[in-house]
Amino acid sequence: MPAVSKGDGMRGLAVFISDIRNCKSKEAEIKRINKELANIRSKFKGDKALDGYSKKKYVCKLLFIFLLGHDIDFGHMEAVNLLSSNKYTEKQIGYLFISVLVNSNSELIRLINNAIKNDLSSRNPTFMCLALHCIANVGSREMAEAFAGEIPRILVAGDTMDSVKQSAALCLLRLYKTCPDLVLMGEWTSRVVHLLNDQHMGVVTAAISLITCLSQKNPDEFKTCVSLAVSRLSRIVSSASTDLQDYTYYFVPAPWLSCKLLRLLQCYPPPEDGAVKGRLVECLETILNKAQEPPKSKKVQHSNAKNAILFEAIALIIHYDSEPNLLVRACNQLGQFLQHRETNLRYLALESMCTLASSEFSHEAVKTHIETVINALKTERDVSVRQRAADLLYAMCDRSNAKQIVAEMLSYLETADYSIREEMVLKVAILAEKYAVDYSWYVDTILNLIRIAGDYVSEEVWYRVIQIVINRDDVQGYAAKTVFEALQAPACHENMVKVGGYILGEFGNLIAGDPRSSPLVQFNLLHSKFHLCSVPTRALLLSAYIKFINLFPETKSTIQEVLRCDSQIRNSDVELQQRAVEYLKLSSIASTDVLATVLEEMPPFPERESSILAKLKKKKGPGAVSVELEDGKREGGELNGGGERGDTPAMSASNASTPSPSADLLGLRPAPAVGSAPPSVGSLLVDVFSEGPAAASAGVNDDGFLSGRDLEQPPETSDALLAEGPGDSDSAPPPAASEEPAPPLPEAEDLLNKFVCKNNGVLFENQLLQIGIKSEYRQNLGRMYLFYGNKTSVQFVSFSTAVSCPGELPTQLNLQTKTVEPLIEGGAQVQQVVNIECLTDFIDAPLLNIKFRYGGALQNITLKLPVTINKFFQPTEMVSQEFFQRWKQLSQPQQEAQKIFKSGHGIDTEVVKAKLLGLGTALLENVDPNPENFVCAGVIQTKGQQVGCLLRLEPNAQAQPGEQMYRLTLRSSKDTVSKRICDLLSEQF
């Protein structure tokens, strides 16, 4: 059909295109185009009315110029004129121009809509299709407003031509995607479902896309499509290759429709009706069987079409995850593809198997292909295929094959593409930890990792190895020996030096018996690396040295010499200088006993989720880590947003390792217990939780094994800490208070409310005393610093504080504090730390009682400690769709709490936003259809459970001042949480 000659002949256009193609340079082309534009402009402006043909030709030229990448700012009107032409070809060019160069000029849109309206009602199917294509191509809101009501009618009308139905279905789909609110479900909905039964395959093909999209949003209304889809699929699958005539593609019956049907079924759980399910399983089996049949054609199109259906069927099988037989068959089929000569199939097989590996039914079957996958990792020439192989190895890893997989990944890492190294490193680190049976293997693996790809080993990885070594005494000697050996290498990575410094500083004594690794040898080895390292590493090494002085008194003079030299003690870097000065002083004035206590071995770290895993989740999104078979429920953690944690401002503010200005909260310099308080109060959380996910982004923490020391240890133990200094242990315990604590102050509740949306500030103040608070929370843990400032010039005596939990609170909240000095000098300030652990959600606040004598008079004050449930929020980012979906899932009446209340201080958007962020939730933009409203999401982390929480705050800002109201709605999986947060937050506005 050489149709090109047919009635075509816009010769002027062809000449123009030739001219452009003959242009030798870009400049020449631009010149030619400008000439043409000037010509067209003058024609359009000219007095002589242009006939339709010329208009069409010029509009077409403009279109061509636009498609070359030049801007077009005129001609729209002429194009719109073409729309109303009776000549098909003019109309067609007009529509094409409009579709390509949409302009939201409202005047034009009105004209365009008019033309479309005329064509839709013309009853001429060709014109109708053109109009529908235009709507589908432009898909603007204005068009949706004009036609969203009309198109469903056209779609289901009995007398509509098939081709028009097809266009109408997809046109409606586009409008629905653009403006779901304008496409109203109605009587047509049920009739659309029955289009699945239409005789015309083209109609079914078009309609099913619409149905799939609609059923994703309204699954119940479209439930009936499941059985219809199954029977349609069954008819196609069992048909001979010639039955479907032109819908058979290279001997494969209706591949596009089949894929779409299988995709539609993935919107639903397995059919409940046994007969339907049986039929579907039969279909899936037939599809799997066909994959084994000899190909009916050698053409790649045949195998692609056949395999497209196969992969879609496998996706459905995985979606159901309930038919062990089918899962294993799918896995075997994919196994064959792993060695297929088509790169595409190998890629897809690796990808699909990754999801199969996470099903308990097929995990074992996937594992049998390990050798092939390893081979793929080594030999594939295409990096994207290798990446898939690495992903699959990670997914199929379990205790039985971890050593092999980790070894292979390590060796691949040596030559891996730079783009994927960091991810590979994380994966190796995770697998090594997760499946470590003997920890010496783990230590070896991580050290290898640092050796091979040191640059890509992030902080989390080496933090983690240290945590694990510290927590397991069976591996400490081995670790010391191994790092010692690793440090022998002439060039070793800085991360190796960090790990080496830390581990030898802690456990160097375990290998000191061997003369080859005597204390001095160890020290010299470490110090030989010192000058090549960056400041944070040097700081860490200095800490290791002071630990050496404690471990090996014989090194004291050597190390003191090092500390004393100008390059240390006068280092231009404040941190290094400070450490050198303090350590030198400490080593010379403290007795051996004091040193031994101060520099004691690190206590074990609490077990928490691996920070590395959190980092990987963050890198790849939640899906990527779904390998965690043990964790079972893939959906379980989803409300966490896959690790969007750790970006809270509190964290980024607290990562400074120099003495932090934030410690100076109350404007009074907090009196340090001893002048030598090393690094910052500010970095506390980073240290405390450096193994928690948050540290991933907090980043800067350098070593944390000295400065973090006091934070990690259980508060009761009184072994002296560097921060507290040697004098501390002498202090007398506070005298027991004989008086009963006073009842809470009447304003205690208000004071508490002040801190719902903030963590720092002054909690209480009277003429004598000021109490400041600085607190930080991470997951279900918190740390609160209370600063008691004596505002007078006279000392407070018998100063004591007590934190208590009334009512049920002791089972919900775990609080620990250290006692404070019983004496506060006039003008001085003392600090007290409260460690908080949230066990489960709670309502009441803990009480803080303060007693002291001022000039002989007993002062007895009780306050509420501002620990509220929202402090344990972790913000969760989600997109609109996700939010709505979760909102719907929390639809039981008791899950919702709602309050309507008057605004206290007028409605200021910025203030509201700040408060909502302060609450701890993520403020979600562009989620609520009404931009005035605020929606937030977060997860409350308690020890026992996580409670997902959604919030919606609707102000009526338009109302008169004084009349302004809010409506606050909370939904969470726990009624008490919804209620409590609703109560707390409603007091904030």
């Binding site: 047919k6 067609q92 898909g139 586009r174 779901p180 819908y247 919107c267 994207s384 959906e635 259809p929």
Partner: protein, 202 residues
Amino acid sequence: MKKKKKRSEPGPSQLSLHHIESVFVAVRPLSLAHVLQNLTKLREKMHFMLLFSRQGKLRLQKWYVPISDTQKKKIAREVIQMVLARKPKMCSFLEWRDLKIVYKRYASLYFCCAVEDQDNELITLEIIHRYVELLDKYFGSVCELDIIFNFEKAYYILDEFILGGEAQETSKKNVLKAIEQADMLQEEAEAPRSVLEEIGLT
């Protein structure tokens, strides 16, 4: 692969403000910005299709999601560069941003589609092939020049085949029949014109 069970309750967008006194204005229609935001999140079959030459010249572009012109240029440049850098025998799928690029080369032309991450790559490859077949049948062993000089036809054929990013009619015969009918209408409507007039000299 994961799809949540949904309950049939109005989402926040349709939430009725039932137990609310008149102090609250009714939910206002969606803002356009919101729509655009939302739109990219809804599953689209195909985001765009590009045809370009080995020299990287764009021959045809079809966008199924609303994107600004500057973005289009940027994306096209990026994708073209990426695809041209691929070696033969490499796989036809590329991960790009959160989409997947499926491409295939026919003689001097690259055909390239961007689909959602979970979409079926192989069937997309065959979408490309079917389009090539349609062009081939219509032009009679199509070459790059046919598409350059008759770009509007290439667009019409694509519109008949794929609409809004979804396959509308997969039968070759039916698509060509529709185009043929349009051509017939065209013929009837057009009177022969003089050569001079054609080249714009009158």
